[in-house]
């Protein structure tokens, strides 16, 4: 494990002897420290990908890819010194997924950075949809590195111990994660997220945000679809120009005066046709940037849904309390407004004794008090959720605006360089064609 010195903030994370409950408390403590992100102390890279074969859970042979994570202390290297050798470990995609699921459950109010896509989508015909295709693997490697960097630079997520262990502890990590018991929460949360429930007083801000995330999802999907079609067509255009190259070369063989001009025109056509591969590869980066925010949109939506769940549970508790209070009142005054089985049976079978009434009243009192406590807790929980969520949402909005603006700018730069390159070719091609004159 890389030694980053005796920095007070870090000491907590490095101490692996503490128990899990203690570490959880520590996590809560360190979450308060905004700005002390892991990235300041640690360089993280995903440098390689390798194919492995092994037996899976059902004891069948499978081939999968593992990615090499390199971490290194971010201390400045003294002059003339060599950079420290990095610590390394291998992870496969499913482990990244496990990490992310853990983060989703543990920090429901945070917009968790997305992973690169599981399967290649929005492909155009030349692009492979095969997960083992080297281009896909390469782009995934970049995406995984990006994911780690996003998490490591997040004011809250970067302090998570499980995340730190993910980067540093190859073998035992899986056990540690499962020990946190987050999976139980996953099951119940998943059930709730997919369930249909109606919130009585929805928070307008969250409603608007959910609507926005849907819009973002739809518009970026549309953009990616169009891009795939455009890429297909553009590829066709360039490749047909390659046919020009062939014909011009053949034609130059039968002409005397025009021969040279045709020959070089042919060469330029070939170069032009070949240039499409680079162009589309560069565009792939832009598509990846868009995809990241497509998946981010899902993460935003998920936060909104979790808030809805909390809100709903809060409303349920409040409603439950109201009903208990009413029951208490009825019991005390003798009026029946709310149906209860006890009330029904007492009507049918005669009034209960004073003793019975009083014991029931006492039970209701107790229950009401507990209900009030629960309500207070839930209320606080909800408010805390809302507060921390909106903090992160604000951070996310700024990040998104920055990143996407940069992406658009680099798209423009890419278009410009493509025009310049092709125009350069065309200039020479025009010259070549003037050679057609005798």
């Amino acid at each position: 494990m890389a030694d980053c010195g005796s920095n007070e903030e870090v000491a907590v994370i490095f101490n692996t002897d503490i128990t899990s409950t203690e570490s959880e408390n520590n996590l809560i403590n360190t979450m308060v420290e905004i700005g002390a992100t892991l990235l300041r102390k640690m360089e993280i890279n995903v440098t390689e990908a390798e194919k492995r074969t092994g037996k899976n859970t059902v004891n069948m042979q499978e081939t999968y890819t593992v990615y090499l994570i390199e971490t290194r202390s971010a201390e400045t290297v003294p002059e003339g010194g060599t950079p420290t050798t990095p610590d390394t470990l291998w992870r496969r995609y499913s482990e990244f997924e496990l990490l992310r699921t853990y983060l989703l459950v543990t920090y429901p109010y945070i917009i968790i950075p997305p992973l690169p896509e599981k399967r290649a989508e929005f492909v155009w015909h030349k692009m492979s949809a095969d997960n083992l295709d080297p281009d896909f693997v390469e782009r995934r490697r970049v995406g995984l590195e990006n994911f780690l960097l996003r998490v490591a630079s997040h004011p809250v997520l970067s302090n998570d111990k499980i995340f730190f262990l993910f980067l540093t502890e190859e073998k035992e990590w899986r056990e540690v994660v499962l020990e946190t018991g987050f999976q139980d929460k996953v099951d119940s949360r998943l059930k709730s997220l997919s369930a249909m429930f109606r919130v009585k007083n929805p928070d307008k801000r969250f409603t608007a945000l959910k609507h926005y995330s849907d819009e973002l999802n739809s518009v970026i999907s549309q953009l990616l679809r169009v891009r795939a079609k455009v890429a297909d067509r553009l590829y066709g255009v360039y490749k047909v120009h390659g046919n020009y190259g062939r014909v011009f070369s053949e034609w130059s063989a039968i002409e005397k005066e025009m021969g040279d001009g045709l020959q070089s025109a042919g060469h330029h056509m070939d170069t032009f046709a070949a240039s499409i591969d680079d162009i589309l590869e560069e565009e792939e980066h832009y598509a990846d940037q868009l995809k990241e925010y497509l998946f981010y949109a899902e993460a935003v939506r998920s936060v909104c849904r979790k808030h809805e769940l909390i809100q709903y549970e809060l409303e349920m508790v409040a409603q439950d309390l109201v009903s208990k209070k009413q029951q208490k009142e009825e019991l005390a005054t003798g009026t029946v407004r709310v149906f209860s089985l006890k009330g029904m049976t007492s009507k049918l079978f005669g009034q209960e004794s004073q003793e019975q009434r009083e014991s029931r009243l006492a039970a209701l009192e107790q229950s009401t008090r507990e209900g009030e406590e629960t309500l207070k807790e839930r209320n606080t929980e909800c408010q805390e959720f809302v507060r921390t969520a909106w903090e992160d949402i604000g951070r996310f909005k700024e990040q998104k605006d920055r990143d996407l603006r940069e992406a658009l700018i680099s798209y423009a730069i890419m278009q410009i360089s493509m025009c310049k390159k092709t125009k350069g070719e065309d200039d020479r091609s025009a010259e070549a064609r003037t050679e057609l004159s005798i």
Binding site: G35, E121, F122, W124, H125, K126, A129, N146, L149, R150, A152, S153, Y212, E215, L216, V219, I220, L223, R225, V226, K229, D232, R233, G236, V240, G242, N243, Y244, R246, V247, E250, W251, A253, I254, K256, E257, G261, H285, Q289, K400, D401, R402, D403, R405, L408, I409, S410, A412, I413, Q415, I416, C419, K420, K423, D426, A430, R433, T434, L436, I438
Partner: protein
């Protein structure tokens, strides 16, 4: 959302580019033994074979090649629909302005229909069987070349007819043809069409000659064999270039259709954003402007390159016909020559006939020889100018797009008030942005 195979040929001919076969050889293999420039091109051979005494035709050819001043200007325009009881057809106005002495007036205006052009051309070919007469636009159009049959088709045809007459007027021999003059000047062409008793008999002769040539040609002079080979090769190449060009235009049109989807999507996105709205709308407008430029580029290609290439595709048929006719003339002579050797009676009259035919062969060969180099020069010049124009337009297109995106960049860089001071931590090293 994956692969689409490229649609197969669209005009009933061979070019079929499947995605995996985009390297398919679609022209016949006409590779010469060596690809180095041939030491004896047809034109250099012409120089070798030119006889000492210059024929009248050759004299005129040389004069005309030097002289660049036109003394006759012809335009074809104003296509109008004419309806009669039996049919509907288009009439074109043919306007001539000339300073030539042979013409009684200096200006003429006549109405001509496509059939009239066909008549003119066949008369010219009849009179000068081994001269290369520029082709007419086709009677019918292969599907896919013109989208809307009426307006574009008529305009394309009009332009081609205009070019046809101008090419004839530039030809040193054909432009002085009586038929040509009649075509340009006579108000009523029908009476002229019916003239010429030799018409039918000449047709009969040609038919017989074709029959002869199938068995008869003893030895074609090498220069014409080479010419024949060149015509074959050229015809393959020009046909291919024509096809590729049309294919490119088709692909570009389809690309443009998809590209046009970008702009509304970016604009729609901008509507749900605040800070991002401005750059998104910027990109939307850039893509739209680039689409317009692409539209113009495609249009230019269709107007300039496609007709030029297509004309020379049609030329190859003309060239092949000319070579056939030359062969026939030679075959006829050879046949009569053989007859002369075997027959005893009528030696004298046969001899006269044979001599006449021999002269005819000589004339035909000379005519073709001269016109051949003229045609080659014309071909090079026409195609060069069409390609150059296309290349220039392409450069123009990229320059325009460049300017569009650069102005977008400027709008983004110059934008003030970029809020970078509120952050505690440095930006994560975004591997993609780097």
């Amino acid at each position: 959302m994956s692969g689409q195979t490229f649609p197969a040929d669209f005009s009933g001919h061979m070019l079929d580019l499947d995605e995996d076969d985009d390297l398919e050889v679609f022209s016949k293999n006409t590779s010469l033994a060596d690809s180095s420039p041939m030491p004896n091109s047809p034109s250099s051979m012409v120089n070798q074979y030119r006889p000492e005494e210059e024929e009248e035709e050759e004299e005129q050819l040389q004069q005309q090649q030097g002289a660049n001043d036109k003394d006759i200007f012809i335009t074809v325009d104003n296509p109008e629909s004419h309806v009669t009881a039996i049919e509907t057809f288009i009439m074109y106005r043919v306007e001539t302005k000339t300073t030539r002495g042979e013409y009684d007036s200096s200006e003429y205006e006549v109405l001509r229909r496509y059939q009239d052009f066909v008549w003119l051309r066949s008369k010219l070919e009849e009179t000068h069987p081994t001269l290369i007469v520029h082709p007419l636009p086709e009677k019918f159009v292969m599907k896919g070349m013109v989208e809307r049959f009426n307006n574009d088709f008529i305009e394309t045809r009009r332009k081609a007819l205009h070019r046809f007459l101008n090419k004839i007027s530039e030809h040193p021999i054909l432009s002085y043809s009586q038929h040509f003059k009649v075509f340009l000047t006579a108000q009523e062409l029908l009476s002229h069409k019916k003239q010429g008793p030799g018409f039918l008999s000449r047709m009969g002769e040609t038919v017989r000659a074709v029959a002869n040539s199938v068995r008869g040609l003893r030895s074609r002079p090498e220069e014409f064999s080479l010419m024949q080979e060149y015509v074959e090769d050229f015809s393959n190449k020009i046909y291919s270039v024509d096809k590729v060009t049309q294919r490119i235009i088709k692909e570009q049109r389809e690309y443009l259709d998809e590209l046009k989807q970008y702009s509304p999507t970016y604009a729609q996105w901008a509507e749900s954003e605040e800070e991002l709205a401005e750059p998104l709308n910027g990109v939307a407008s850039c893509v739209e402007r680039c689409s317009k430029e692409s539209d113009e580029q495609i249009h230019h290609m269709s107007e300039v390159l496609v007709p030029a290439l297509h004309e020379y595709v049609l030329c190859t048929e003309t060239l092949k016909a000319v070579m056939r006719r030359r062969d026939n003339i030679q075959a006829e002579f050879e046949a009569k020559n053989v007859a002369l050797a075997s027959r005893r009676a009528d030696q004298e009259s046969l001899q006269d006939e044979v001599d006449g035919l021999a002269d005819r062969v000589e004339l035909a060969n000379n005519a073709l020889r001269g016109d051949w180099s003229r045609w080659q020069n014309g071909m090079r010049s026409d195609l060069k100018s069409a390609f150059l124009s296309t290349a220039e337009k392409n450069v123009d297109y990229y320059e325009q797009c460049l300017a569009v995106w650069e102005s977008f960049l400027l709008s983004q860089r110059v934008e003030p008030g970029e809020q970078r001071d509120g952050e505690d931590e440095p930006l994560p090293t975004h591997p993609i942005i780097d």
